[in-house]
Amino acid sequence: MLKKMFFPILNLVTLVILPLILNYYITLNYKESLEQLETLTNISIRSSLMFITAIGIMITILSIAKSFSNKASFINLLSSLGMSLLWFLLLSFAISFGQFPDGLIGMSTIYIKTSPSMPLSEAIVVKFDFRFVMIFLALSLMFSMLSDTLSFKEGLKHK
């Protein structure tokens, strides 16, 4: 039982509880600084943390389904594939500093303004190009999904 609950609990703590606590803590203590940062850079740390929490809840649910299902069942296969996809989404989101939709293809743009009233055309533009890393992440996802599918097939044979 404990062995089965290890990964769901780990996912719950790292991807749901910790981001929620961090979000609550920074909102409570650094609200003004956060608002200033959001105005000057267009990066919303609180929204990013909420996004991580939302994905974390889905990953936790899928990991519970995976832990308590038979290896040769479709629930196990679907939850494994879903978890791989969600991890890919989460990592691509983190790598692109939460700047979706550009982030999905490994490019993200940040506008840095020196004053809140400054127009975007006057702002410092920082463009990150992580497309090469996205290829590595996509390959990782592909191999992970392949191993999940083969594991399911192997389970069916033993059944």
Binding site: L91, I95, S121, E122, I124, V125, V126, K127, F128, D129, F130, F132, V133, F136, L137, L139, S140, L141, M142, F143, S144, L146, S147, L150, S151, E154
Partner: protein
């Protein structure tokens, strides 16, 4: 046999994931170290503007010493675009340098302004409409990761010193 294939696939997947994360962390750390060191060097930047009313041409020179404080080699592309706010481009200058870790190099950018564009500047001096966009493209980790930074700069004050 199938167990070996499964283990192989999982190890390959894990290695791709770890290499992606290490690539991001190493390149971001390298770029951050570069920018932290750059703050000291920027103060030594030399900007000079010379103009010749007789031949109606001018040139804007920027010499910026840049040191790579990171731990990976960097390729730095610097570009300056000089233009009027109505969009007409007056001149462009580019420079590219490969900078090894710990090495200090000087980026020299010289924008040559020819006769037709020189008159545009003279006409627009009072309007303070001469602007520049300075952009840096940093490539690290064997050019796999790149960061492009561009900032608009108002230069109209610089032209009033020419003569």
């Amino acid at each position: 046999m199938n167990t070996k294939v499964l283990t192989f696939l999982r190890v390959v997947s894990f290695l791709f994931l770890v290499s992606a994360l290490i690539t991001v962390m190493a390149s971001l750390l390298n770029i951050s170290l570069f920018f932290l060191g750059l703050a000291n060097e920027v103060q030594n930047t030399k900007v000079s503007f010379s103009s010749n009313y007789l031949y109606r041409n001018a040139s804007l020179s920027i010499e910026m010493p840049i040191k790579n404080n990171g731990f990976l080699p960097l390729r730095l592309d610097a570009k300056i675009e000089l233009f009027l706010s109505n969009g007409s481009i007056l001149g462009i200058a580019k420079d590219t340098k490969d900078i090894a870790p710990g090495e200090l190099k000087t980026m020299s950018l010289t924008v040559q302004i020819e006769e037709s564009n020189f008159m545009k500047i003279v006409e627009n001096l009072t309007m303070k409409e001469v602007k520049a966009i300075v952009s840096f493209k940093l490539r690290t980790l064997y050019d796999l990761i790149s960061v492009n930074i561009s900032a608009p700069v108002h230069l109209s004050g610089a032209f009033s010193t020419g003569g």
